[in-house]
Symmetry: C2
Subunit: 180 residues, 2 copies
């Protein structure tokens, strides 16, 4: 399961292996960066290349991307939306299903409540993955939390069980539509 916290300057990436009993193992965590002084087209190409490297290295079965809202900070929201488009594109180009989750869905899945702060998310991610230290930076912890959230909400079970039954597929499609 690959989680991506999209951003133009720092794009958090986290890969986890989730077992059917919901236990999870850290596979990779990192941040793909682009130079804020570079032209936007070059920055997006750097982010795409960095995300493709992660997909190539770890062969995730599913990609989860944090959902961006138009009403958030206007100065950065367009860049974040563009980076999220790149993340989803790379999933699509590799034939991987993608899902988006809101920050509060992620916080609720990982800590038990939707308004948890960053430290609480980092702490729970470290506990679940049995890490000796908090995952750093926060973007990377968010990406891991996103991957865990998606796995626990059914994504891992669906991916691990192979082809979906017609009923599972119908449910999955309906859920995807509802998330748009």
């Amino acid at each position: 399961m690959l989680g991506i916290d999209p951003g133009l300057t720092r794009c958090g990436v986290g890969v986890v292996d989730v077992a059917p009993d919901r236990s999870a193992r850290l596979v990779h965590v990192g941040v793909v960066r682009s130079d804020p002084g570079a032209p936007i087209e070059e920055r997006l190409a750097v982010i795409a290349a960095g995300l493709r490297d992660v997909v190539d290295a770890h062969s995730p079965q599913v990609v989860a991307v944090e959902r961006v809202f138009a009403q958030h900070n206007r100065h950065t929201v367009m860049g974040t939306a563009q980076a999220s488009g790149i993340a989803l594109l790379i999933a699509g180009e590799r034939g991987l299903p993608a899902a988006t989750h809101t920050p509060s869905e992620v916080k609720a899945a990982v800590t038990g409540y939707g308004s948890a702060d960053k430290l609480q998310v980092q702490t729970m991610v470290a506990r679940v993955l049995r890490l000796d230290a908090l995952p750093q930076p926060a973007d990377a912890a968010d990406a891991l939390a996103l991957a865990l959230c998606h796995a626990w909400r059914g994504g891992a079970a669906a991916a691990a069980s192979g082809p979906l039954t017609p009923a599972q597929k119908a449910w999955h499609d309906a859920e995807r539509l509802a998330r748009r």
Copy 2:
């Protein structure tokens, strides 16, 4: 000069050849579509493939993309922003400089005033390119207008004159920064 009017369902593309005397010739006009019922990651991959086909077929020197604003229609703005990210990414991956222009800059460049309506833009694009009919659909006309706008604002001259002088490069970089 390739102009792209980004959209998830319809992405307008227009390629024009612009001479130093500002006269222009239509090279290609079209719309890249994606199925509104398909998952977002597949839609973005379809749009990316369609845009790459246009770049491969016509080898533009510069890509101009309509700038998306966060405050516009919230239901579609995220998809439009993601599509614009894909358009800019493809420029970046091919090493092509990209520029963004606002709709009012485009209207002002093509018709002489920034609040022109769609029919006025289509009419002027048809006149400039000596077309027998109005370019259809409107997304395609907008993409052609965008390409003309960018060419007339200095993009074509810069691209045609080969490597930039240091002063031109500094101006170009400053302009790019200001447009973010």
